[in-house]
């Protein structure tokens, strides 16, 4: 195959270039131009000197992340939480989408589909108060139930081990409606003729799900997984902060990069250190997604993100 240059390509697909131009320009201006702020991560920011006038200070801004060994713990926690949340919430969303699409009661379908979207609207602040209402030692719902059955009260807030599960359950619950819509939409765009053909061949419902539905939504599933992997170093600050609060006893199990940075810089307006934390997350995300995307490209080129 002959290689063609940009000019040739531009002439061939002129219309396509024009169609993509508005958003390319928009992103260039709105996202790329301010990106010069990345230099802050390597500067000792002073207000009087500004972003570009401040002195360079090497990797000094990154040091606080790793002081006392916290850096490794919070990086590990962030990755593990994202993996756990990815598997549970996407898994639940796929199962729900497949089931809802197969159900035949139209009203039941419509109502449940709407209802499972409701948790999305409950902000983490309010979820946080729900969690406290359930688990607090003195008046929590859980302990009321336990004592009603003659059991001994448990102090969940001093049991770090259970919190990853609590957090992941609430996360899956909150996002199930939102994520399942994507899969439902993907399922509805499957050609109905496929199912009709399968019916004629006498396939049962499980076979149809396995041989038609799943393969058809595989590109969507892989896109969603890749998108999540691309933010594997970012923690949902609101979720962790509102559920865990300032409870140091749970930090070893619940501290992620975003919460650690928030706490460290609460009384310290250090833009350099904030930028350093974000930069650290960005670089790790970048490396991970490049590797994963490359692997996907090798296996199934169409499914890669870029």
């Amino acid at each position: 195959m002959k290689k063609h240059g940009f000019v040739y390509e531009f002439k061939k697909n002129k219309a396509l270039f024009f169609m993509v131009a508005p958003t390319v320009l928009l992103v260039l201006v709105m996202s790329y131009l301010p990106m010069s702020g990345l230099v802050l991560a390597f500067k000792n920011y002073r207000f009087d000197l500004g972003v570009f006038g401040s002195e360079w200070n090497g990797l000094e801004n990154f040091r606080y992340l790793f002081q006392s060994g916290a850096g490794w713990l919070i990086t590990r926690n962030t990755i593990l939480y994202n993996l756990l949340n990815l598997i549970t919430s996407q898994g639940l969303a796929i199962v729900v989408a497949v089931i809802i699409s197969e159900l035949t009661g139209r009203i039941f379908k419509k109502i449940t589909q709407s209802v499972i979207f409701l948790p999305y609207f409950i902000s983490w602040v309010i979820v946080g108060t729900f969690v406290f209402n359930i688990f607090n030692y003195e008046t929590g719902v859980l302990n009321n139930i336990i004592t009603a059955f003659g059991g001994e009260k448990v102090n969940v807030y001093s049991m770090p081990g259970v919190w990853p599960w609590i957090i992941c359950i609430f996360n899956a619950w909150k996002w199930v409606g939102y994520n399942s819509i994507i899969y439902i939409a993907a399922i509805t765009s499957i050609d109905a003729e496929c199912y009709e053909a399968a019916d004629i061949d006498g396939a049962n419902v499980f076979q149809k799900i396995w041989y038609i539905t799943f393969p058809s939504i595989r590109p969507t599933i892989i896109t969603m997984l890749l998108l999540q992997v691309g933010r594997i170093l970012r923690g949902d600050f609101e979720m962790f902060y509102q559920i865990v609060g300032n409870n140091g006893q749970l930090y070893d199990a619940t501290d992620v990069i975003d919460t650690y940075v928030f706490r460290s810089l609460l009384t310290n307006s250090n833009f350099g250190m904030t930028a350093a934390a974000t930069f650290y997350q960005s670089v790790l995300c970048f490396i991970i997604i490049m590797v994963v995307n490359q692997i996907v490209k090798k296996v199934e080129a169409d499914y890669a993100l870029f």
Binding site: L16, T23, P34, G177, I190, L227
Partner: protein, 304 residues
Amino acid sequence: MATATVERSNKIKLTSSRIVFNIISYVFITLLAALCVLPFVMLISGSFSSEQAIRFNGYSILPQEFTTEAYGVIFKSPEKVLRAYGVTIFITAVGTILGLFLLTMTAYVISRQDFKYRNKISFFFYFTTLFNGGMISTYIFYIQYLHLKDNFLALILPGIMNVFYLLIMRSFVNTVPTALIESAKIDGAGEFRIFVQIVLPLLKSGLATIGLFMALGYWNDWYNAMLYMNTETKFPLQYMLYNMLQKQQALAAIASQVGIKVENLPSNSLKLAMAVVATGPIILFYPFVQKYFVKGITIGSVKG
């Protein structure tokens, strides 16, 4: 097209596997739905409960010591709330329509197999989810060079190119058979016309999904308003409510340090009432979007 699904469901015979599937499915979905609806019911009844009752007894299914006090606080000046609703609806409508169009068009271009730069452009967009300039330089740039202070564009533009939605949309566009586009090209249709007349109609469920997400994004955004909007009459609803709540919390936190007196607002029930006020309309809007999710698509009919 609408009849396709209905016909299909009528044809299904109740085989034993169907019965097993249905039992498991109905039980599972009903339980899940209950878990989702219950907290929301508690949220609504909490918003009608007295502050004292919530603080002492927590939430419940039915309102405790029924009162509309929290709503009274929010609607103390109803014209403000209405105007904020107006701003939010305006931002949401303009942003979603404009954004959905531009985003889908972009998704279409980067899904075209014969477009050489599709991966490079995808990466160009994706890169912005990995790296960003951070709050200060973005703020300074928007304010000083783009002059977006107090400008509605500051609320609309950042939401238009959500790269996650773009790539999800691309996965939907990918399901449109290449043969359709090829044959249209042979018929002499221009790229833009192919996109508008052939591709868009096949993307209804995708458009509904991403449109809903974009609308929710605009509807719930208070952060950009916080940074860029100065005039109270230009505040969207979520920011106005967020403001109300923060005032209460911030004052309580610093009151003792500066020695000022804080009036006691019903902050717990207020929080819940705000959630109801802010999400109500968009929940009502949801069923209209939903109808695009239940239709089965029959590509054959388009082909013919």
